[in-house]
């Protein structure tokens, strides 16, 4: 019985992957784009799950990593002619990693709620800097740029269509999922989970907890930055709204709705939230956050495990 579970898991994985691959061929343009966006937000939520679900630290600052990835890519795309995809990817990741290192160094000195508040405040610092530094970031108007071509110099160059962009995003998100899954299963990931379960005991065993936490925040920030880069490719636009803390809050909501500590759960949570928003905004227009917020509160109280919480063990096997 035990031996068959990986088979079931990977079969399910293959089925969902196939569905996601053929999605843009089957769905109308709007919903195709919608699925691409879900993947990107799902990646952001997954990155935050590494902290919330596996290390037990709730980050309210993921918008900063996401936004810095986005602006890093934007700068690289605006600075080079013609815009280079890989350079943008690299610049976004470096920007996000640098910020994540900075935030990690300070915020990991604190635990629990203090960590949450500190990350929130840090993201707000970057929001203000980006919002007021108009010469560099375009301030409130943000930066507009054009999408680079998918190219390997000397080999081929391919202009992105919505479909190829979807497959590109899908490939990166799936790779990130496999990587994150590997990380959480590695000895390093086990130490993180041990910190979540009992920090004092982990310290007593002799693990340098601070270093593990800093590394966890940096890794998480790196993947969040990756999501930001992808979103920049998708939207051809970087705006300070994406650095605002409300986005971080939404990421936490994705995690809680979907089920923390599952990696897949946050993606499901993102999909659920975005679908709900899409449907509810027809009735409630911009006030859709009222029913969504009420539902979120109810889930925190009555269903803290989230939608996929029941499968948590199984998904982490």
């Amino acid at each position: 019985m035990r031996d068959r579970q990986p088979i079931i898991f990977w079969t399910g994985f293959a089925v969902i992957l196939t569905l996601l691959i053929i999605a843009p061929l089957m769905l109308p343009a709007f919903w195709g784009r919608f699925v691409t966006e879900i993947l990107i937000w799902g990646l952001l939520a997954m990155s935050s799950d590494l902290l919330i679900g596996y290390t037990g630290m709730v980050s309210f600052g993921h918008s900063a990593f996401f936004g810095l990835g986005m602006y890093g890519a934007a700068f690289a795309l605006l600075a080079t002619r013609p815009p280079n995809l890989w350079l943008a990817l690299f610049a976004g990741l470096v920007a996000a990693a640098a910020i994540a290192a900075f935030v990690a160094y300070f915020s990991t000195r604190l635990r629990d709620i203090y960590f949450a508040i500190t990350t929130l405040i840090f993201s707000q610092i970057f929001y203000i800097v980006i919002f007021t530094w108009t010469e560099l970031t375009g301030g409130e108007n943000g930066l507009t740029f054009s999408r680079p071509a998918l190219a390997i110099p000397g080999l081929f160059s391919l202009r992105f269509t919505p479909r190829t962009l979807h497959w590109f995003v899908l490939a990166i998100v799936i790779l990130s999922y496999l990587l994150l899954r590997r990380i959480t299963h590695s000895p390093f990931g086990m130490v993180l989970q041990s910190i979540r379960e009992n920090e004092a005991r982990t310290r007593a065993i002799g693990y340098p907890i601070e270093r593990y936490k800093i590394l966890a925040v940096m890794l998480s920030g790196l993947f969040a930055g990756l999501a930001g880069v992808l979103y920049a490719f998708q939207n051809e636009f970087a705006a300070p709204n994406f650095v605002f803390f409300v986005l971080s809050g939404e990421v936490v909501i994705y995690n809680v709705i979907g089920g923390i500590g599952t990696l897949v759960g946050p993606v499901v949570g993102a999909a659920f939230f975005l679908l709900l928003r899409e449907e509810l905004s027809r009735f409630f227009t911009e006030y859709y956050l009222i029913p969504v917020g009420l539902m979120f509160i109810a889930m925190v109280i009555f269903m803290p495990q989230g939608l996929l919480g029941f499968a948590r063990r199984w998904l982490n096997r």
């Binding site: 709620i113 909501i253 911009e286 009420l294 925190v300």
Partner: protein, 294 residues
């Protein structure tokens, strides 16, 4: 002394007064937050929304009664009632669970309340007229007396609350519950009521500060957010759960921001408080204005 002449003393003095005024309001907001945190480990993300609700209740009451003082009292009582109801329905069930769940629940609450206000009252800022319009001559500018009165009123509310904590029966119950909830229960203190009461009092303080501050900026659905972030900073810098520390930190940070805005724009001056926070975290993570823990 050419060096001393170069310093704009008049501007510095005005900014000092401005800093103390905003500092007192901030202290009022933060003391409610720190109280709620200190006694029940609840980080109230929706605290700023109580400030906003208080201001809106005052706006509605003003239309009916035209009296600022009645509006202030009604707003305080109204937010206390709303706070109690919210505590009983959403936070009570979370008691004893991971404190992080309360930050999630109150975050959801903040979304709901903010969007409810936007839905009910629209995006246009409402006005609360100043209760009196006198001013005093301060160098070349007429400094509105109302601002000074805000500082005095905030100080009075905080002072009164401090006396209540020190000598009132309920105040003593509250302090006992903060120290040891189980022991307090064993001594016959009605802990569930104390917790509800504390949440109501904290909400009322936020509501009152919203009314006091309303005339200066106008009332809109997002007014709470600015305050909640700064109040969080104050609570961390002042030492979590310490009332006196919060008050001192609030004035300290507001003064720094006021001085900074002499040279940079107000939005950038806000970064000063972030810097103070980072420094505090680096060098004295227990808080600037509390005794060193043994």
């Amino acid at each position: 002394m050419g060096f001393l002449d170069a310093i704009p003393w008049d501007l510095l003095l005005i900014q000092t007064i401005n800093g103390v005024v905003t500092g007192m309001i901030l202290a009022l907001v933060a003391s409610g937050l720190t109280l709620i945190f200190g006694i029940m480990d609840v980080v109230n993300f929706a605290h700023g929304e109580f400030l906003m609700l208080g201001a809106y209740i005052a706006v509605l009451t003003l239309v009916a009664t035209h009296s600022f003082w009645i509006a202030l009292i009604v707003a305080a009582l109204g937010t206390a009632l709303i706070g109690a109801i919210i505590y009983l329905t959403t936070l009570r069930p979370l008691l004893g669970r991971d404190p992080l769940t309360t930050i999630l629940a109150t975050f959801g609450l903040s979304l709901v309340l903010q969007n409810y206000a936007l839905w009910q009252f629209g995006p246009v800022a409402r006005k609360i007229p100043e209760p009196f319009s006198g001013s005093i001559q301060l160098f070349y500018l007429n400094y509105p007396l109302y601002r000074l009165m805000i500082a005095a009123l905030s100080a009075a509310i905080i002072g009164g609350f401090w006396l209540f904590l020190k000598y009132g029966t309920w105040g003593i119950w509250i302090r006992a519950t903060t120290q040891d909830r189980i022991m307090a229960q064993a001594m016959g203190i009605p802990v569930p009521w104390v917790l509800t009461g504390v949440f109501a009092i904290g909400s009322a303080m936020a509501g009152a500060s919203g009314v006091l501050f309303g005339p200066l900026v106008g009332v809109d659905h997002a007014m709470g957010f600015d305050w909640i972030l700064r109040a969080f900073i104050v609570v961390v810098v002042g030492g979590m759960g310490s009332l006196g520390g919060s008050v001192l930190a609030a004035i300290f940070i507001s003064l720094l921001e006021a001085y900074a805005s002499l040279w940079v724009s107000p939005a950038q001056a806000g970064i000063v408080s972030f810097v103070v926070l980072i420094m505090t975290l680096l060098f004295r993570p227990t808080g600037l204005f509390v005794a060193t823990p043994k």
